[in-house]
Symmetry: C2
Subunit: 301 residues, 2 copies
């Protein structure tokens, strides 16, 4: 009997417990972080914006000149199967495409190295746990700067997290929950695994470059449209960000995460701001109503 | 009978064929490229500058706040053992230190995630094969820029290779062997896995920042001292680099690699330059004489 309690994975054409899904240490997906990925959430039995995630994953693979051999329909089918195998009602569902090693005799060039797909469904884990969201996350701006688009396109979801990891150590030293990294020009980019927004005079502002084009970010734009809130997508200087009325983050593994502190400054009454909470509440209300939902097929053929 | 023909690895306290050394897909060493490594070469039964590599590896781990639990002596012993198990007389010997996953109940922060060691000895593979070194490598400067030190310290040897991989695709499109990346200021940094040097009017110039402080680079400084060649360690603008008399690269897995072309321009007579070859020849002559050599213990206790 296989143990799927920690999740299920698909690799090399078969479903397995996630603990069995392992990558050879020689593969370039690890050894050169030559990999792209995407993560779609399953909440109470429904994928959220499944096709949007597969579309972005395909674009990321194309940008890195990778073709794992599976079509979008194949990937969709595999994602249903890993969630079904895990039995999870709420899950973090990842799809990775990574390069292996050059075939015997081939030059050591990425163009000759086959790429392959790994999918997995893991128990849902909040980027920020509910109690942290309730009090508002505490943010800070570290010294380390985000890897610039001129070096790696942040719209290709990737594992180049050395800067974000360093930022998290700086955040810990400052007593904050999360680091928000600036670019070389001193503009806000993103945090570890989430997009960032601030609110000033009733308008939502989010960076136009240097960050992932998040699917939850796109959902925020949709919600703001419905709520009649103007969204500005433009460079966001650190000083403007620090002086904001409200700040919130958005991510697949956490939805809308309001902040209550930035660089030690207490915003509002040290609680999530009212507009942030309006967006947060509407996000989850609509999710419960089936917004952009695709029911997981728990008994796939 | 275990098959060590493709190399040997040490992981979780035991020696195994390298094909069995695998990393769980959930580990942050892969999933966040939260890893540092080093590579020491073994040539004809001798490590080259073994203690220098272990010293740099320890400094890299300290910088990333990692402690795998093994002392420098432990690591030295393990490296001898993997080479002995592989039976290889010439080998590429890697040591990785990577983070796993947060323990149950711990916050999802790198400070709480244990780091562990993997070592491996692989059959020697040239960065540039001998016939390519004989004709001189063909270099080009791509559009993509090297990840800056403000985002990740390049002196911490790392797998953030997305920029170098992209550069290699640009090199392929241009008909060149290797990309040499510039920094945001237009100065030369490094290539995929090697340091770079140019020679102008008999003086060797190499970048002072934005690149790994290579052990073979340090060996070049030593050789230049013996040969009475002046070395300048300073910013190296792309235009000066393109106009050089000679160019060569230096790496553990290739030694000294002279170039014959840069951005399509043919240097000298489309062959490795004379000073580059003098350094190249002296490097290998001294290696054969036991320079900085530590004999591999092929029958460890």
């Amino acid at each position: 009997m296989q143990d799927f309690s920690k999740g299920a994975a698909w690799m090399d054409g078969r479903i397995m417990p996630v603990a069995e899904a392992k990558i050879p240490v020689t593969h370039w997906g690890y050894r050169r972080s030559d990999v792209t990925y995407d993560v779609v959430g399953v909440w109470e039995g429904n994928f959220f914006r499944l096709d949007d995630h597969i579309r972005r994953f395909r674009a990321s693979m194309a940008r890195l000149r990778m073709d794992p051999g599976q079509s979008d329909d194949d990937i969709r089918d595999i994602l249903h199967r890993v969630v079904a195998a895990s039995g999870l009602r709420s899950a973090y569902v990842a799809m990775d495409c990574l390069r292996s090693v050059p075939p015997p005799g081939a030059a050591r060039h990425p163009a000759h190295v086959p790429a392959y797909l790994i999918c997995m469904a893991l128990p849902w884990a909040w980027v920020a746990p509910p109690e942290m969201i309730a009090r508002g996350v505490h943010l800070m701006i570290p010294q380390v700067r985000r890897i610039p688009p001129e070096s790696f396109d942040p719209r290709v979801k990737n594992f180049h997290w050395g800067d974000l990891t360093e930022g998290q150590f700086e955040a810990e030293a400052a007593g904050a929950d999360f680091a928000i990294l600036l670019d070389a020009d001193g503009n806000v980019t993103e945090g570890p695994g989430f997009n960032i927004f601030c609110i000033r005079d009733g308008r939502v502002v989010t960076p136009d470059r240097g960050a992932l084009e998040g699917i939850t970010r796109a959902s925020v734009f949709e919600l703001c449209g419905e709520l009649g809130i103007t969204v500005e997508i433009r460079p966001l200087p650190a000083d403007e960000f620090r002086a904001a009325d409200e700040i919130f983050a958005a991510t697949t593994a956490g939805g809308i995460m309001p902040a209550s502190r930035i660089d030690g400054r207490i915003m509002g009454n040290d609680r999530p701001g009212p507009l942030s909470m309006q967006i947060h509440d509407r996000f989850w209300k609509k999710r419960a109503e089936g917004w952009h939902a695709t029911p997981v097929d728990y008994a796939p053929g």
